[in-house]
């Protein structure tokens, strides 16, 4: 606990709420979400489709406006208006990897431009030669051939396209990488390759990750800490092993029970837990964000906290 407090906090999300207008009605895709990410860790955000994961990541990237709350990167607010040099530093040091490699590359631009786009934006090279060299080096880093630079995205497979997307982020020499379900649109056979690449890069480039996924099995091995998000609210947050050993919130338990087991016998007899939100009784007293064990947080009211801790 005490050791943890000394770690440098890279990103801090404080009471973030993002509202969308649906016709006249307003709804909160992200509702009062708080967490922080330490430098050097892999922090995973897990939740089902529509739970607001992409919205969180886009709010961090400044694509969606925060309706309430604040986002701090290295202690400076990045959710409001930034000065020119702040924005420049932020855009260079925080990069994003996208979910759908088919949609996230400009079909009419060559790989050379796609990978160099950020360099052009901030003039991060002295001459054409230096830029070309940077592109070449980065393509190699992600396991692609340098002469792919002269081709168009439609000439590549999904896994290769995702590598191009990673190169586009990596060339900026970022410190913090937001990866929004970077493998869920890929063929099962190449998912491991991309995960391994991300892990390798993390070590080589000293990166910090916010890794978004929709099932827990993917993130178990790569994450230091995991947050579980349900309908725009984070319901549980703990270190990876702790969360798997001692899940508290019934939604987390449901997610855990959905992970397929390697042994077919136990898989068959497994008890699939289905989360039923009506078990909560939040009408009178709304739940609060409580620290059930050191570093293990859960959204619960007092009665539930007591009950869950006793089991």
């Amino acid at each position: 606990m005490a050791a943890e407090d000394k770690r440098e906090i890279l990103l801090e999300v404080k009471n973030l709420t993002v509202d969308f207008k649906l016709g006249r009605r307003k709804f909160s895709a992200v509702d009062d979400v708080s967490f922080h990410i330490y430098k050097g860790e892999t922090f995973s955000l897990v939740g089902e489709s529509g739970s607001g994961k992409t919205t969180v990541s886009r709010a961090i990237m400044g694509i969606h406006q925060a309706s309430q709350g604040d986002i701090l990167y290295k202690g400076e607010s990045v959710s409001g208006n930034m000065t020119g040099s702040q924005e420049r530093k932020f855009r260079q040091s925080v990069q994003m990897i996208f979910q759908d490699p088919m949609a996230s590359l400009n079909e009419r631009a060559k790989v050379d431009y796609i990978v160099s786009e950020g360099l052009y934006n901030f003039k991060l090279f002295k001459g054409e030669k230096e830029r070309k060299a940077k592109v070449e080096r980065t393509l190699r880093k992600v396991g692609l051939l340098p002469d792919f630079a002269s081709r168009f995205p439609h000439e590549f497979s999904g896994g290769q396209r995702q590598r191009i997307g990673i190169a586009r982020a990596l060339i900026m020499e970022p410190e913090f990488l937001v990866a929004d379900e970077p493998i869920s649109a890929l063929d099962v056979s190449i998912r491991a390759q991309i995960l391994n690449l991300l892990n390798k890069l993390k070590k080589e480039e000293d990166l910090t990750y916010l890794f978004i996924a929709h099932d827990l099995s993917v993130v178990r091995l790569i994450s230091d800490r995991i947050a579980v998000i349900y309908k725009g609210k984070i319901v549980e947050l703990a270190e990876s092993e702790e969360l798997f050993r001692r899940p508290l919130h019934p939604y987390t338990k449901g997610l855990l029970s959905a992970i397929p087991l390697p042994d077919p016998e136990s898989e068959k007899n497994k008890n699939l837990l289905i989360y039923d939100p009506s078990i909560h009784d939040y009408d009178k007293v709304p739940p609060s964000w409580c620290e059930a064990y050191p570093g293990h947080w859960v959204l619960a009211d007092e009665r539930e906290l007591d009950l869950w801790r006793r089991r």
Partner: protein, 303 residues
């Protein structure tokens, strides 16, 4: 079999990436799909020949389209060897006048298309991309499109001196908005796609987002809109000429010819027929070619 008959090829992860490479090219496929259709190919050739011929006619032939015959026996001649399309009420050669007229109309139409499409594309791209502009642009669109185009054309032609640029201004001041609307709708569908979000995450400035991420995807719409604006503008010039508000009478244009041919139509129908036939061929082929190109530019129709 000895062990050294086969050796292991060294594993090279980079070489493995060489697979998954196809030779699909958007423009080549678009072009192939387009010329696969006999009708569009034929019309494209006819269109090209007509446009080229009318543009080059003053160089190829030395007949003066404004040369008036003093001898009244040369007036209103039916088509014969000397005058393939006959002559008009002042003895001017209709064949020469038809090509000069087509030339004027085509130059006019190209100019209008240039402004319509140029302004329309830039305005439409901004309209679609800059969210704040949507409300005001929609208002402008409603105001402009709610004025009937004929009323607007006639009004402006009355106010300003008849002439080439009057028609260009009258047409372009109105025509750009429909093109802008088309472009806006396409841009809105593009702006939410992930590659644009990626550019925004990288801090790409708006001008390069428009130039690199948006406009290249609009090329097929732009070509189609240009192809459709041209026959429409030629038609509008003819319409203005027909009601006497077109180009000055001493300018040879299809509009003026149709106007003069109309007054003599009962006696000398050929004076109206030939300019109209050329007009119809050009208009229809531009229109069909534009539409066929739009079909061909849709990757779903690619072979």
């Amino acid at each position: 079999m000895s062990d050294d008959a086969f050796t292991f090829a060294p594993w090279n992860p980079e070489a493995a990436e060489e697979t998954g490479y196809s030779h699909y090219s958007y423009w080549r496929s678009t072009f192939r799909t387009f010329i696969k259709n006999r009708l569009s190919l034929t019309l494209l050739i006819i269109m090209g020949v007509l446009v080229l011929f009318s543009l080059l006619y003053p160089v190829l032939a030395s007949v003066d389209p404004n040369k008036v015959a003093l001898d009244s026996s040369l007036w209103n001649r039916r088509p014969d060897f000397a005058h393939i399309f006959g002559t008009d009420g002042l003895g001017r050669d209709i064949w020469a006048r038809t090509w000069y007229g087509t030339r004027t109309s085509i130059l006019l139409a190209f100019t209008i298309a240039f402004f319509d499409v140029g302004i329309g594309v830039v305005a439409g791209a901004l309209w679609g991309y800059v969210r704040k502009s949507d409300q005001i642009m929609t208002e402008i669109y409603n105001v402009i499109t709610n004025i009937p185009s004929t009323v607007y054309l006639i009004l402006l032609s009355y106010i300003m001196k008849p002439g080439f640029w009057t028609i260009v201004i009258a047409m372009s001041s109105r025509g750009w908005i429909t093109i802008a609307r088309f472009i806006r709708n396409k841009v809105i569908s593009l702006r939410e796609s992930e590659y644009n979000v990626a550019s925004r995450c990288l801090g790409t400035p708006l001008n390069r987002i428009l130039g690199k991420n948006i406009i290249p995807f609009l090329v097929s719409i732009i070509i189609m809109q240009t192809a459709l604006t041209i026959p429409y503008s030629i038609g509008a010039e003819v319409f203005l000429g027909f009601i006497g508000l077109g180009l000055p009478l001493d300018t040879v244009s299809l509009g003026n010819m149709v106007n003069q041919g109309r007054s003599n139509f009962m006696l000398y129908p050929f004076q109206l027929t030939w300019p109209t036939v050329i007009l119809a061929v050009i208009t229809v082929s531009f229109y069909i070619v534009g539409n066929k190109f739009a079909d061909a530019s849709d990757p779903k129709n690619h072979l």
